[in-house]
Symmetry: C2
Subunit: 345 residues, 2 copies
């Protein structure tokens, strides 16, 4: 059985010149995949022709006349851009024509439109944004990364369920360990919401390993790290900034003079191995979890390789039945007061 992925082909900093070749590369590596490219039909057909994919049997083009821009307010995009490539791609998931959709566009608009069109899964109060990060031991999935600024303990608990379901489904790891992001400095160890969330997680059937701290993310202490969207967003962006600074400094160190430039040439194979391990493109793709459909956010500035990774992640989520797993977990733990309440609502 094939899995169809709808692509917001106009989203991101580059649009079709990145999304179309990425889609074709993705189809080459996944024979069971089909793609629906959504956007300006002429531009998409021209790009397909230029890439030798004019009559690809597993590519379909669906027209959309508008594009959500990066600076647009999510509420405005939701209200006014009914025929945007982003919205039409999400509609394809809603109607069942696609099993998942991928967009490199405006994160806030994607979340707002996806929430409005698809709705949340039963028992889930708010969707969260989750992504995998490289660690010393493999990878760790962190959520939420910015969808929810103020989270209740119940929401953090639900993030734990969703993150564990995602990792269990896509990484073939039945009982992924779940850690709650906290700080160790204060005697009281974190605020009341985090303490209450720890109690909910401890009482659940998740493999909860307790509090973790910021450095545990990259140590790979837990398979899933749960935090509110403000903290998660700061942690992610701070990491991006630090990595960029270190790469800049490393380049400068090797560019200082003729000798160090020569050394850099010799060191290139070793540095390439290093670079591959931490290449952010290989980790591109953040899941909007908790919706009645799979929606994947790609980094806006990524290239073909990065967008291809986001497509692959969406495909894997659809294939592995992440949504069913979240729904099952929520049902199983449905007696939990936190969830019972939100299910009643």
């Amino acid at each position: 059985m094939s899995v169809t992925v709808a692509v917001d082909a106009m989203g991101g900093d580059f649009g079709p010149p990145v999304t179309v070749p990425a889609a074709l590369a993705f189809l080459r590596e996944n024979e069971g995949a089909r793609v629906i490219l959504v956007g300006a039909e002429d531009a998409l057909r021209a790009e397909l022709a230029a890439r030798g994919g004019a009559s690809h049997p597993r590519v379909e083009v669906v027209a959309a006349s508008e594009v959500v821009t990066s600076g647009e307010l999510p509420s405005a995009a939701l209200r006014t851009k009914k025929d945007s490539s982003m919205r039409v791609a999400i509609n394809l998931v809603k109607s069942g024509r696609a099993a998942a959709c991928v967009s490199a566009g405006n994160t806030g608009a994607l979340m707002a439109i996806a929430r409005f069109v698809l709705k949340t899964l039963p028992g889930i109060e708010r969707p969260a944004i989750a992504t995998a990060l490289p660690t010393l031991r493999g990878q760790t999935t962190v959520l939420d990364l910015g969808a929810n600024v103020n989270c209740s303990a119940q929401q953090l608990y639900q993030f734990g369920i969703m993150g564990a379901a995602l990792v269990a489904a896509t990484q073939h790891c039945e009982r992924p360990s779940v850690g709650l992001l906290n700080i160790g400095e204060e005697e009281i160890k974190g605020n009341d919401v985090v303490k209450e969330a720890a109690e909910l997680l401890r009482a659940s059937d998740l493999n909860f390993i307790g509090n973790v701290e910021g450095d545990d993310i990259y140590k790979g202490t837990a398979d899933v790290v749960v935090c509110d969207g403000f903290v998660g967003n700061v942690a992610l962006k701070t990491s991006e900034g630090l990595a960029q600074m270190l790469v800049t400094f490393l380049k400068e160190a090797f560019k200082r003079n003729l000798l160090t430039k020569l050394v850099a040439l010799i060191a290139l194979p070793a540095l390439k191995g290093f670079r591959h391990r931490v290449d952010p493109r290989r980790y591109n793709g953040a899941s909007l979890l908790g919706l009645r459909g799979i929606v994947m956010k790609s980094h806006g500035g990524t290239d073909v390789l990065g967008f291809q990774c986001a497509l692959r992640r969406a495909f894997e989520e659809a294939e592995s039945g992440v949504l069913e797993r979240i729904a099952r977990h929520v049902t199983r733990t449905g007696t939990h007061p936190a969830l019972a309440e939100s299910q009643d609502a």
Copy 2:
């Protein structure tokens, strides 16, 4: 005029074998400095003798019979360890015998004891922990790093005043730029506390540049970045974890085989330059700001070079009159409703 620094010589993972040689090195580079080593007298005198500092004219030893351990609860340390090296060092600041004190011990205990013994400056509700981080442009001072888990807008505003005063005094930069750490994903751009803090900062005479995001810390977008202690602590620890992971991966890349090992040898000078630029020891020393005295927290696991840096920072703060500058700023902006209230209290 000389400046005396009191040293909790027993604190940290290593105690006198690190603190004593660091103190002697610090005295060698600062002729206007004096040091009071606080702790187990015999151990300190033995260490001094072993390092050729037995009769150093600018070293004094003050006995303290107890040590605050790293696992100890701050409240317990405050209540029971009246003769700890940490507390006696802080007492020396209180009595005026020392202009500053430095400890590599338990952060929570240091904050609790310093707050109890020294009290906060007029108009400052809560002290904050501040440290400088390397950036693409130089350095950025971030606060709070974990002393305050739930901050009011007024507290964040006061962190801005304190951070700006610290940078102005020690970095000879009269109007340092101040940024408020926030996230850009959500339409509402952050929570209510952060929005209110932005209004207070905008209305102040600080050089407030508005919201900054996590990656701006290492870009060096602002001289001072203000955030609550939960977020700051996660950002700092996440950075530590990421840096450690990248260094590990870099080492592994060069250790893969005989050829890459050889390349590593040739690349050593370039890599050393890189390492020096981001060496965490060079940035060691976090200020407990807002107290009626200078208290510097050193990383517990640092070595002689790192502890020496923390001593240097404490010395620079004492020499440059940071406390007077904070007090002056608070007075000048004393008409601000936020501060007027807390001054009345």
